[in-house]
Amino acid sequence: MIKKTFKVSDMTCSNCAMKLESLEDTLDGVKEINASYHRLEMVIEYDESKLTDEQIVAAVKKKGYTAVMK
């Protein structure tokens, strides 16, 4: 398991954080996601053998946001 932080600058409210956290349920290999609208970031703990950074960025993009690794 690895933990990485992504900057998501285009969150506009706390609901955006909730939307991003819902990736927990759809992305295979994710253990936990903690997104914060206050800090405009998303901390994701995942199994790097099952998931890549690019896949995370793409999944975030599908939700309507842009993630950049910090």
């Binding site: 506009t12 409210c13 706390s14 609901n15 909730m18 939307k19 349920d25 609208y37 405009l40 309507g64």
Partner: protein
């Protein structure tokens, strides 16, 4: 996702809107000033407060709720609807005649549950408010805090500065996680349960309304206020939740600007009311009391009609539309009696406050109440207001 699925007018939409309007009508009848069923309603100010709450709901509240609760919950419901629809199409080749009335039912149930939950929450907040027995000064501070909170939220929506992001309250993770997992259910109880759970993720405007319910200090009024507000949010929420798969994000971006402007206006109005209740010379009315010729003229007329203070008494008429005259002149360095005269006055003007003297009195709807005003220095001013900070006036000592 079946993007070609164009939303059509659903009978349940019409029924739901009908239910909403009937509920509004019932609420209005129930809270008429002549109604004896609920004492707190025997006040036009109460009625106007409920109407304002309803309008706030139907304008800013619905859209703000959409931003906070709609994205997750309505999409979950819409997804459920879509699944139902797809399943129906898969099992019925004559899909054109698909009975889509079932599809709107979860949203209707969700909104009804939400209405019940927030009404109960309003009652609880009102009860807490009565327990706290808010003095006019405490209420003023509360109103100022609410005003600042709303202004901060509006500035957050405008993305003025990162600091304003902290005006948005983030619900605890375990709650959002729990709601999200519950939203996956597909039975009838799920939308009801989700509707009840929305009390844990209130939007900014709802939070402000919750604070107002707390300030009422009455179980019935707190419940009525939250009922009116949540009822107001329902039609917008319903329609947009129904169309969310097609229009959600685009509408959200477009309406957020509109919501921000309205929240900003309401924020300044609330802040100003708080300043009035506090008796601050910095409120809009007190700052501009001498600016407008029309007001000066009315004062001049009022002064001429101001009763002679032969017995040391000065009369102030407390009417439904405010206090007349708005500016009273009184002799300095001597005590005098202020006669507060009401005549079928039902507005919040009856809740008379002189903040500097810490005087608060609910006047009878018809009658005279005497207030002893202690001696004041020449050139000083005593501000008076209603407890809502809507109607104001002043006594100038010379």
């Amino acid at each position: 996702m079946s993007k070609k699925q164009t939303p059509s007018v659903d009978p349940v939409v019409i029924v739901m809107l009908g239910v909403v309007f009937v509920a509004v009508a019932v609420a209005m009848i129930a809270f008429q000033p002549s109604s004896n069923s609920i004492n707190i309603a025997a006040d036009a100010g109460t009625m106007s407060q409920l109407v304002v709450a309803f309008i706030t709901g139907i304008t800013t509240g619905g859209l703000s709720c959409l931003a906070v609760q709609g994205g997750l919950l309505a999409s979950s419901l819409a997804h459920q609807i879509e699944q139902d629809y797809v399943e129906h199409v898969a099992t019925n080749k004559k899909a054109k005649a698909a009975p889509r009335s079932n599809s709107a039912l979860p949203i209707a149930l969700f909104l009804l549950a939400k209405l019940v939950a927030y009404t109960l929450l309003g009652a609880l907040l009102g009860w807490l408010g009565s327990y706290l027995t808010l003095s006019p000064l405490t209420r003023a501070f509360l109103m100022i805090a609410i005003g600042i909170f709303m202004i901060g939220n509006a500035l957050r929506m405008f993305n003025v500065h990162p600091i304003f992001r902290y005006f948005s309250i983030e619900p605890p993770k375990f709650i959002t996680r729990y709601i999200r997992r519950t939203a996956k259910g597909t039975d009838t109880a799920t939308p009801i349960f989700l509707g009840l759970l929305t009390v844990f993720i209130p939007c900014g405007v709802t939070q402000a309304m919750m604070a107002t319910a707390l300030g009422t200090g009455s179980i019935a009024m707190g419940a009525a206020l939250m009922f009116a507000f949540t009822l107001g949010t329902s039609p917008v929420f319903f329609i947009i939740a129904y169309l969310t798969t097609e229009l959600g994000s685009r509408l959200e971006k477009f309406f957020m600007r509109f919501v921000a402007v309205l929240v900003l206006i309401f924020g300044f109005v609330t802040l100003n009311s708080g300043l009035n209740v506090m008796g601050s010379p910095l409120s809009f009315q007190n700052l501009t009391s001498g600016w407008f010729p029309s007001q000066t003229e009315s004062n001049a007329v009022a002064e001429s009609s101001q009763p002679a203070a032969a017995d040391g008494a000065i009369t102030l008429e407390v009417q439904n539309s405010g206090y007349f005259p708005k500016t009273l002149k009184a002799p300095a360095n001597q005590d005098f009696t202020l006669n507060l005269v009401t005549d079928q006055t039902y507005s919040c003007a009856r809740d008379f406050v002189i903040p500097a003297l810490d005087y608060y009195q609910l006047l009878p709807d018809t009658g005279t109440v005497q207030v002893n005003i202690p001696a004041q220095k020449a050139g000083s001013t005593l501000f008076f207001t209603c407890s809502m900070g809507m109607y104001t006036g002043q006594i100038v000592f010379e």
